[in-house]
C-alpha cells in the first residue's frame, strides 16, 4: 500500500426526487488518500458537506465488498468507473490522478426511476425474478443432494452466470436500456442445470415478458453491458436467452 494524496474536482448529479429536475453540482475535494475506495471518498465529501451545512449526496451502498450489488454510479461515462470487473465500492482512488475532474451520475434508465441524487429504484429487477427466476420447489421433500449429478464443467458454467449481483450497470450502459444481461444470467443458470428443466420454457417466456413490460429495451449487440459488468457476465448468456426464448415461443404455443 503506497499512500499518496490527490486533489479532485467532482461534478455530481443532484436531484431532489423523480419529479424534480436535476443538475450537476461542482465540488472541489482535496487531500484524497489514494488507498481510499470510491465510496470512502464520497463519505469524506459528505462529512465535509455536512460540516458546511449542506445536504450530503444520497447514494446506495451496503456491503462495500463488491457482492451485494447495491452501489453503483456512472463515473466519467462508465458504469462503476474505469476499472474493469469492479463495483464502485471496490474501485480505489489510486485509479485517478491529481487534477482529474470526475463526473458522477446515477444509473440512468427509463426502468430505473431516480429516487434522489445517485440513488435509483431497481425494483424492476426484482419483478423480473419474481416472474420465474427460480426453481419451484417448496421447503422439504427434496431428494438427497447427490442424486442429482451435475458435471463439474456444467456447474462452473452455471456459476459463471449465477455470479450476477443485480447491480444494474448493464442497463445503465446499454444504449437501449436493455436488461438482457441480467435476465439472461438467471435464465442461463437455471436452463444449464437439470433442476431448471421442468420450467425451462415457461421461465423464459415469463421473464422476457416481464422485462418488456417494465420498460427495458432490447439487445442490439452493443456489448456495453459485458464491458462494464463487475462480475464479467458474458453476453453468451444473451445468446442463450434468445435461443431459450425462441424455442419456448415455437414449442410452447
Amino acid at each position: 500500500m503506497t499512500m499518496s494524496s490527490i486533489d479532485l474536482t467532482l461534478q455530481i448529479w443532484r436531484q431532489k426526487n423523480n419529479d424534480s429536475l436535476g443538475h450537476l453540482e461542482t465540488y472541489p475535494l482535496t487531500g484524497i488518500n489514494t488507498d481510499m475506495s470510491f465510496l470512502e471518498m464520497l463519505d469524506v465529501l459528505n462529512e465535509k458537506l455536512t460540516r458546511d451545512g449542506k445536504d450530503p449526496v444520497a447514494f446506495d451502498h451496503d456491503c462495500r465488498e463488491g457482492i451485494c450489488g447495491m452501489c453503483g454510479a456512472v463515473v466519467n461515462g462508465i458504469a462503476h468507473g474505469p476499472e474493469r470487473e469492479t463495483t464502485l465500492c471496490q474501485l480505489h482512488m489510486r485509479n485517478f490522478r491529481s487534477g482529474d475532474t470526475l463526473v458522477i451520475e446515477p444509473f440512468r434508465s427509463r426502468a430505473f426511476p431516480i429516487r434522489k441524487d445517485l440513488m435509483v429504484d431497481r425494483s424492476a429487477f426484482d419483478r423480473i425474478i419474481q416472474s420465474g427466476g427460480y426453481v419451484s420447489v417448496n421447503t422439504g421433500g427434496t431428494p438427497d443432494a447427490n442424486t442429482i449429478l451435475i458435471p463439474s464443467a456444467t456447474a462452473e458454467l452455471a456459476m459463471d452466470a449465477a455470479a450476477c449481483i443485480g447491480c444494474g450497470a448493464c442497463v445503465a450502459s446499454c444504449p437501449n436500456g436493455a436488461a438482457m444481461l441480467f435476465t439472461s444470467a438467471k435464465i442461463s443458470q437455471l436452463c444449464l442445470l437439470p433442476q431448471g428443466q421442468p420450467e425451462r420454457k415457461q421461465r423464459a417466456l415469463a421473464m422476457v415478458e416481464t422485462m418488456d413490460r417494465e420498460g427495458f429495451g432490447n439487445c442490439t449487440n452493443a456489448r456495453e453491458c459485458e464491458a462494464v459488468c463487475p462480475k464479467a457476465i458474458s453476453i453468451r448468456n444473451i445468446a442463450r436467452l434468445n435461443r431459450e426464448f425462441l424455442a419456448a415461443s415455437l414449442f410452447e404455443g
Binding site: 462529512e47 447495491m70 429504484d121 426484482d126 426453481v135 420447489v137 417448496n138 456447474a155 462452473e156 437455471l190
Partner: protein
C-alpha cells in the same frame, strides 16, 4: 424475567422428533387466517418467509435495502457445513454437533445444537433442488472441503461466493411467494419499534426510508431475522446498514438479550489503513489451508518480507500449535496475531498486521492450483491493497466479524416476549462463545427453512389470539414514541453544524472505546473505564450531534443516527456482560483468567451459563439473569490445539 428454554424430553437424538410430535399444528385451511411479519431477508429471513408462505400463512416481509437480495448473508464467502459424510471421512450428526458445541467452548445449549446438526443435511438437499451451483467433482457429485480447523471435509461451497448463492436461492423461493401473493414485500423499510399488545408481539412500526413515513403493521407473530450487531465497533466486516436497532427495540419491550459480549473477531481481514476507513474486508479463512502465518522473529524488523531469511521468521502458529498449526480456530488465530503485534513484531505501515504467506504452497502445488482455489480472493486483495499475493505475502489483521450473542430464545426460537421469534445471527442459540467457520449459513437456513414453521404452528395452535388491527392504541403510541425520538435526533438540524459533531464522529469514538476495552482481550479495569466513559459519549451524541435535512425525505444521515443512538445504549449491556463474565471463553480472553502458558482459561464452575440481560428503563442498569447450561451428552473439556 422467566427463562424457560423448554427443551423437549427424551434422548438428545429424539428431542426434535418428540418436539415436532408434541407441538400443535395449524390446519392447512386455517393458516391463511394468520399473518406473520418477518423482518430481514438474509438467509434466515428469506428462507423463513418463503417457507411460511408455502405453508399457507400470509407473510409480510421487510428489508432495509432496495431489494431483499442484498442482505449481508450475501457476503459470506467460504461455505456451509453439513453432516452428509459424503467424503466417508468419519463425519456424522454427532460429530458435527460435538464440533459445534466444542468450538463454542461449551457455552451453547446441547439440544439446539444437536437439532442444527440433524437438519444440516436437509439444507444441502434443499439448496441443490433450488439450483444453487455448488462446486462439483468431475463425476458430478458435490465437492467438499475442510474448513476452519475441522478435521473432516463437510463444507459445501460455491467458489468464494457461497453466501451469495445460498441467498439467491432463498431469494428465489421468496420471489416465487411474492409472485403468488402469499408474501407482501416491503423494501427500504427500517423497523423502528415492536408493538406488544396484551403481552404478545403483535406488530411493528417501520419507517419508510424513501418518504420518512411511519407505518404500522399488525400480525399474529413477529419474526426478527435482523442479523448481528458487529457494527457497534464502527469498523467491522458487516455491511454498512447492519445494526442492532430491531433487536434492541425488542429488548426494550422485554426481550432478554443473551451473551452480548460474545463477539467473534476474524483473523484473516485486510488491515486498517486510514482514519477514513468505512469498513473492513474479510478474506475467507480457507486461505489458512495453504497460507502460512508468520512475523519477523526480531522486533521492529522493517525489511521487506522477501529479504527476511527463513531462519529469521517466526511461524508462531505452527510452533505453538503443532497439531493444528495455521488452522487453529478463529479466536486463537486472532489473539495470537494481536499478541505478536503488541509485542512489536507486527508488519506493514501501521505495525498492525501479520504475514500470510503462500510461497511454499505455490512451490508445492504450482500457481495454477493456488489460483484455482483462491483466485478471487487474491484478486480482491490486490484490488484493495495494490499488492499481488503471488509475489509477496498477504498482510492480515483481525476484525470484528460475527456476534454470537443475540436475543435469548427458547428451543422454539421464541424470545421472552410471546409471539416474538428471532432467527439467524439475531439470536444467540447455537454458537456458544465462538462460531465455527461455515456454520453461520447453516444456522440461518436451518432456522428459516426447517425450524420456524414448527415453532409458528406450535405457538398459534396453542394460543387463542384475538384479532389486532393497526388502529389499536398500542400502534398509535408506538408511532408517537418513534416520531418523538426522531424529533429529538433532529433537534440541532435547524441551528446548523457550527460547534456540533457528526454521527460518524460519535460512532468512531464508540467503536474505538469498545475495540480497545471490549475486544479480543478484556480486563476488569479496562471494562470499568469503558463503562465510565460511555455516558459522556452518549450525552455528546444527544446534545451535540448535527443531522442535516429532515424526517420527511430520504435522509441517510438520520438513518445512521438512529442506529448509532441504539448502539450507544446497547454498548452498555455489552460492557456489563463482559465485566460479569470473569472467565476466558470462546472468542475472548479475560486477562485475569489465563493458564500458566497464557492460554484462555474457562471457568465452568462459575460461568457455565447463558447471561441474559433485562432492560430496566432509561438510566437504570440492566439486570442479568442466568440460564444454566447442562451437558448431559458431552463432557466439557478445555480446548487444546497444541
Amino acid at each position: 424475567m422467566k427463562l424457560d428454554a423448554r427443551i423437549p424430553s427424551g434422548d438428545l437424538a429424539q428431542k426434535w422428533d418428540n418436539h415436532r410430535f408434541a407441538s400443535k399444528l395449524v390446519n392447512p385451511a386455517n393458516r391463511r387466517k394468520f399473518t406473520i411479519i418477518v423482518v430481514g431477508t438474509g438467509l434466515a429471513g428469506a428462507s423463513a418467509s418463503a417457507t411460511l408462505a408455502e405453508q399457507g400463512y400470509n407473510v409480510k416481509t421487510f428489508c432495509i435495502q432496495d431489494s431483499p437480495r442484498r442482505a449481508h448473508s450475501i457476503a459470506a464467502q467460504g461455505g456451509i457445513n453439513a453432516a452428509k459424510n459424503y467424503q466417508n471421512d468419519g463425519d456424522s450428526v454427532l460429530r458435527l454437533f460435538y464440533d459445534t458445541i466444542k468450538g463454542g467452548d461449551f457455552r451453547a445449549r446441547e439440544a439446539n445444537v444437536y437439532r442444527l446438526a440433524q437438519v444440516s443435511g436437509n439444507i444441502i438437499d434443499q439448496c441443490v433442488a433450488q439450483g444453487v451451483p455448488f462446486a462439483r467433482e468431475y463425476g458430478g457429485t458435490l465437492a467438499n472441503r475442510s474448513f476452519g480447523g475441522a478435521q473432516v471435509s463437510r463444507t459445501f461451497y460455491a467458489r468464494g461466493q457461497t453466501g451469495q448463492q445460498l441467498l439467491l436461492g432463498a431469494y428465489g423461493a421468496l420471489s416465487r411467494q411474492i409472485h403468488s401473493g402469499k408474501v407482501t414485500m416491503f423494501n427500504r423499510r427500517e423497523m423502528m419499534d415492536l408493538v406488544v399488545v396484551d403481552g404478545r408481539a403483535r406488530g411493528i412500526t417501520v419507517r419508510n426510508l424513501m418518504t420518512g413515513e411511519l407505518e404500522s403493521h399488525a400480525a399474529d407473530a413477529v419474526v426478527l431475522a435482523t442479523g448481528g450487531y458487529g457494527n457497534v465497533y464502527f469498523l467491522s466486516t458487516n455491511a454498512m446498514a447492519s445494526n442492532v436497532t430491531a433487536a434492541w427495540r425488542a429488548c426494550k419491550h422485554g426481550a432478554g438479550f443473551a451473551n452480548p459480549c460474545f463477539v467473534q473477531i476474524h483473523p484473516t481481514c485486510i488491515p486498517v489503513h486510514g482514519d477514513y476507513q468505512s469498513k473492513l474486508t474479510l478474506m475467507s479463512e480457507s486461505l489458512r489451508n495453504d497460507g502460512r502465518v508468520w512475523v519477523p522473529a526480531r522486533q521492529g524488523d522493517q525489511r521487506p518480507p522477501a529479504s527476511i531469511p527463513e531462519a529469521e521468521r517466526d511461524y508462531y502458529l505452527e510452533q505453538k500449535y503443532p497439531s493444528f498449526g495455521n488452522l487453529v480456530p478463529r479466536d486463537v488465530a486472532s489473539r495470537n496475531a494481536k499478541e505478536q503485534c503488541d509485542a512489536g513484531k507486527g508488519v506493514g505501515g501501521t505495525g498492525l498486521a501479520v504475514y500470510l504467506d503462500f510461497a511454499e504452497a505455490i512451490r508445492r502445488d504450482g500457481e495454477a492450483t493456488i489460483l484455482k482455489k483462491y483466485g478471487n480472493l487474491f484478486q480482491m486483495y490486490e484490488k484493495i491493497t495494490a499488492a499481488n499475493p503471488l509475489n509477496e505475502p498477504m498482510m492480515i489483521y483481525p476484525a470484528v466479524h460475527y456476534t454470537m450473542g443475540g436475543l435469548w430464545v427458547d428451543y422454539d426460537l421464541m424470545t421472552t416476549i410471546p409471539g416474538l421469534f428471532a432467527l439467524g445471527e439475531c439470536n444467540f442459540s447455537d454458537h456458544g462463545a465462538n462460531r465455527l467457520g461455515a456454520s453461520a449459513l447453516m444456522q440461518g437456513l436451518a432456522d428459516g427453512y426447517f425450524i420456524i414453521a414448527t415453532s409458528i404452528a406450535g405457538y398459534i395452535g396453542a394460543s387463542s389470539l384475538q384479532p389486532v388491527a393497526v388502529t389499536a392504541p398500542a400502534f398509535d403510541q408506538s408511532r408517537k414514541n418513534v416520531a418523538e425520538r426522531i424529533h429529538r435526533l433532529l433537534r440541532n438540524s435547524m441551528q446548523g453544524p457550527a460547534g456540533k459533531v457528526t454521527v460518524d464522529e460519535i460512532h468512531k469514538q464508540l467503536g474505538r472505546l469498545l475495540w480497545d476495552n471490549c475486544g479480543m482481550a478484556r480486563n476488569k479495569a479496562g471494562l470499568e473505564s469503558a463503562l465510565e466513559q460511555l455516558p459522556a459519549i452518549r450525552d455528546q451524541f444527544w446534545n451535540d450531534v448535527y443531522i442535516p435535512g429532515n424526517a420527511t425525505d430520504i435522509n441517510q444521515s438520520l438513518e445512521r443516527a438512529g442506529r448509532v443512538a441504539d448502539f450507544l445504549e446497547f454498548a452498555e449491556v455489552m460492557i456489563r456482560d463482559a465485566l460479569a463474565r470473569e472467565e476466558s471463553c470462546g472468542c475472548h480472553l479475560r486477562e485475569e483468567s489465563q493458564t500458566a502458558e497464557n492460554e484462555a482459561k474457562r471457568d465452568d464452575a462459575n460461568y457455565s451459563h447463558v447471561s441474559v440481560w433485562e432492560y430496566k428503563g432509561e438510566g437504570e442498569p440492566p439486570v442479568m439473569h442466568k440460564e444454566p447450561l447442562a451437558f448431559d451428552n458431552v463432557t466439557p473439556s478445555q480446548r487444546s490445539y497444541k
